[in-house]
Symmetry: C2
Subunit: 346 residues, 2 copies
């Protein structure tokens, strides 16, 4: 299953609105097939793995990171393909939360006499599929807030024109996240201040996330660097976005942040890397819309500057604890991550 | 030398204005003597170790964490005692920065035909002796700022009446530091808000640090819990501290923070654990008077609240990087420590 998860990871950031899925097929001790879902509209992981295995799939065990589908979508059901190939056993990491599947894929396999095991390395699979699961179950993307702060809790502007907070290893990791998540979001403040490119740099085979700019008044410069193909302007229902529309920017109108996120899910965006400044981050946090945080803590003191989150003072016991916390030393910095919400399961 | 450092550690927080020093004596493969300096006025570590070894010190090797003294202070020179005991070899972790010693102890041993090695586990010894070294060389205590903040850089009041920022392991570690440092400092704001006891709790054999309260106007309540034996009020030259003096509080008058720190060194305080709130910490930091920081980062988000350090905004490249950084997971929290200044050496 570890290999299947590694296969799935190759599709991260490329499959929305579908999940990244990997599949490996094992005959005895031998790996006979592997595959992953490369993007929506292309075949699913199981199909690639079965093609790779050919006749050797007969009597083999298939490891797949998500329950095989049982319904006709853009492609025929993968459960049928596994049955037709004569697979003897299927090991599934996690059930599909899509109400069209949600256990029926496993049922179909079992009805065909295939032995099915569910829940192997489930947590890792669910993490990989967070965007898909969030969009399918909650109708909004999985929002990952990322920032870098000093040991006295100060953040700098996105483009680091005043000097980077964290080191090159942190930057490298951030670029990998940009490659893996569907979209990157900033506010109009960051756009105006930094004119960031919001691209993925230095990742071999990397692709750029869709830029999403929260700009209630549509006052941002339509010539800013962020406005490349696929870019989305999130603005108020009555804002004048004709200049943005004129240059081909997708305009998503919303009354509120939850509405805006629903709209983004409707555009096929399952996961968002929130790299905006304190204003945007604070708005998301105050409304409970941050699902996960990834924070670089840099061992330096600034003494003054912006705080990552602002708002009315609250007592410490109202702080929201992160779950599934990870701590990692990355060069000079410490990366601390955790979840504020559970990733939807079945 | 590791054993000698462990011996020395038994005196931490108890020896000021002297350094904590440990000594072990080894004859062949056998440990024949050990000792540490328990407090000013009592014999030095070497004397205890030599007493412990007795005749077996002859021809032995002595490991000592600080250069043996060569001058007559309150006790006769330890170099003479080592020579008289017939020790063959002396291994020293670090030279004594005291201008009255500063290599002359080693010279005296060598002149007597003893083989001397200097610099074994030096960094660890220098860390143990930071308070002594700071007081002797710089004329002010080594200032260790301690705070706990959330992952969005927010701190709470000292007594945690609003809920603790960090977990019990962090509290336990803090209590150990209180046991090891000479004094604990807070500002009048913290005193008034929290009425903290500033004691060492839950450390077997622990002792309380001297409470130091920075209160420019001497407006704090002389009946506050912090005012136990040995407590120091740091106040302005013209403040009316008669009420504090009346209850036996030591009053240290100073025009500025550097003056105040000189005064504390004059009272025999070599190290200070700064547990004050953002106001006091920011004043120390702005004047370059924080030597070391120990920060608990707790994986939770508050969204609003006090920042550990405040002041006029500065660009990120002016942040002060910590040196000798350590990162440790302590229960749910992450402890990050580092130095802003070098500990004085010879």
């Amino acid at each position: 299953m570890t290999l299947a998860l590694a296969e799935a990871a190759r599709g991260l950031g490329r499959t929305a609105p579908n999940p990244p899925v990997g599949c490996v097929i094992v005959q005895g001790d031998e790996l006979v097939g592997r595959g992953f879902h490369p993007r929506a509209g292309e075949p699913h992981a199981e199909v690639f793995a079965l093609r790779d295995a050919g006749e050797r799939a007969r009597g083999a065990t298939a490891y797949v990171t998500l329950e095989p589908c049982s319904h006709h979508g853009r492609t025929p059901p993968c459960a049928d393909a596994l049955i037709a190939a004569g697979v003897r056993r299927v090991v599934v990491a996690a059930l599909d939360p899509n109400p069209l599947v949600a256990g029926s894929g496993v049922q179909k396999l079992r009805d065909a006499g295939i032995e099915v095991t569910v829940g192997v390395l489930e947590a890792g699979a669910v993490r990989q599929q967070a965007g898909f699961r969030s969009a399918v179950v909650r109708g909004r993307p999985w929002v990952v807030a990322k920032y870098a702060m000093t040991l006295d809790g100060k953040v700098a502007a996105l483009n680091e024109s005043n000097g980077a907070v964290s080191g090159p290893q942190a930057r490298e990791r951030t670029m990998r996240w940009r490659d893996e998540l569907d979209a990157i979001a900033v506010g109009s403040g960051t756009l105006g201040l930094d004119d960031p490119a919001l691209t993925t740099r230095g990742v071999p085979g990397g692709r750029d996330p869709r830029p999403v700019v929260f700009d209630r008044r549509a006052a941002s410069d339509p010539q800013a660097r962020a406005w490349r193909d696929g870019a989305v302007l999130v603005t108020a229902p009555d804002a004048d976005a004709t200049a943005h529309e004129a240059v081909g920017i997708t305009v998503q109108r919303a009354d509120s942040l939850p509405d805006a996120l629903s709209g983004l899910a409707g555009l096929g965006i399952g996961s968002v890397l929130l790299e905006g400044g304190p204003t945007l981050l604070s708005a998301f946090f105050a409304q409970g819309l941050v699902d996960e945080v990834r924070v670089f803590v840099s061992p330096k003191l600034l003494g003054a500057g912006l705080s990552p989150l602002t708002g009315p003072t609250r007592p410490m016991h109202e702080a929201q604890a992160l779950r599934d916390v990870t701590v990692e030393t990355l060069g000079p910095d410490v990366l601390i991550t955790g979840l504020l919400h559970d990733i939807p399961r079945v």
